[in-house]
């Protein structure tokens, strides 16, 4: 089995979600899937090389990714509470007003 191709499949699923969905939560889930696909490569190459350094990088990447998710969810919550908007197109229309 080829893990690199699996990682690319996961990336394709994430990009599909990011392009086709308009719901902010769904878009955030898609971004998380893309991040998981990217960080999976660290584990793959760490396993191939038998090196622990890749796992250390993976931990760093996952921590920053989770912190980023927290702040984006805070922004989504504020956008919903203030404007009752969960659709990215409606949110972008505000710029024109």
């Amino acid at each position: 089995m080829e893990y690199l191709i699996l990682s690319m499949s996961l990336l394709a699923v994430g990009v599909y979600g990011l392009v086709t969905k308009r719901n902010l939560l769904k878009m955030l889930i898609s971004i998380e899937i893309i991040a998981a696909a990217a960080s999976m490569n660290f584990a793959i190459f760490a396993s191939t090389a038998g090196d622990k350094l890749g796992q250390a990088f993976l931990m760093l990447a996952l921590s920053v990714d989770t912190a980023m998710t927290a702040i984006v969810i805070a922004l989504v919550l504020v956008a919903y509470r203030e404007l009752k908007i969960l659709d990215i197109w409606d949110l972008s229309k505000l710029r024109e007003k």
């Binding site: 690199l4 699996l6 499949s9 899937i33």
Partner: protein, 155 residues
């Protein structure tokens, strides 16, 4: 070679696809959580136990936050998505996972392992990164707190 790797690969892509494809947000979050669990199992299969454990711990926190956000932000009206549509999504996802099972890359890149223990890899080679990352996470946490506090003050 682990015999269950192929099943995990298919489950990973199917759960990721359903997390994006399902209309009901709570079902999508459940699928997203199962994707993280399967990913963690794949990391164990790759013989990277630290990554697997960390992924699992991170997944618990992330999925809990998504559950809360999904529950708060989802309208209470019922969303009907046809079963045929869901099954079609799962079939497409199985098709997407097949190349990783059937194809085989032959990399001819030489890799020179450092033969480090995990703790020395983290604290001797990447110590500055870890400290810098702590600062980044602190700033992000303060940012999230500020965003939510501003709203409360205005309310």
């Amino acid at each position: 070679m682990f015999p269950y790797e192929e099943i995990l690969a298919v489950a990973l892509v199917v759960s990721a696809f359903l997390a994006v494809h399902l209309e009901n947000t709570m079902h999508a979050v459940i699928s997203f959580g199962s994707m993280f669990t399967v990913l963690s199992a794949l990391y164990f299969a790759l013989n990277t136990p630290f990554a697997a454990l960390f992924q699992l711990i991170i997944a618990v926190g992330t999925v809990a936050v998504f559950f809360l956000a999904g529950e708060m932000l989802t309208p209470k009206t019922k969303i009907h998505q046809k079963l045929r549509n869901k099954v079609l999504g799962a079939v497409i996802a199985v098709g997407l996972s097949l190349p990783s099972i059937l194809l085989d890359l032959q990399p001819d890149t030489l890799m020179n392992p450092h033969n480090l223990s995990f703790s020395s890899a983290l604290w001797e080679y990447r110590a500055l990164d870890v400290i810098a990352q702590g600062v980044v996470i602190l700033v992000l946490a303060l940012g999230a707190a500020t965003v939510l506090k501003e709203r409360r003050r205005e309310g």
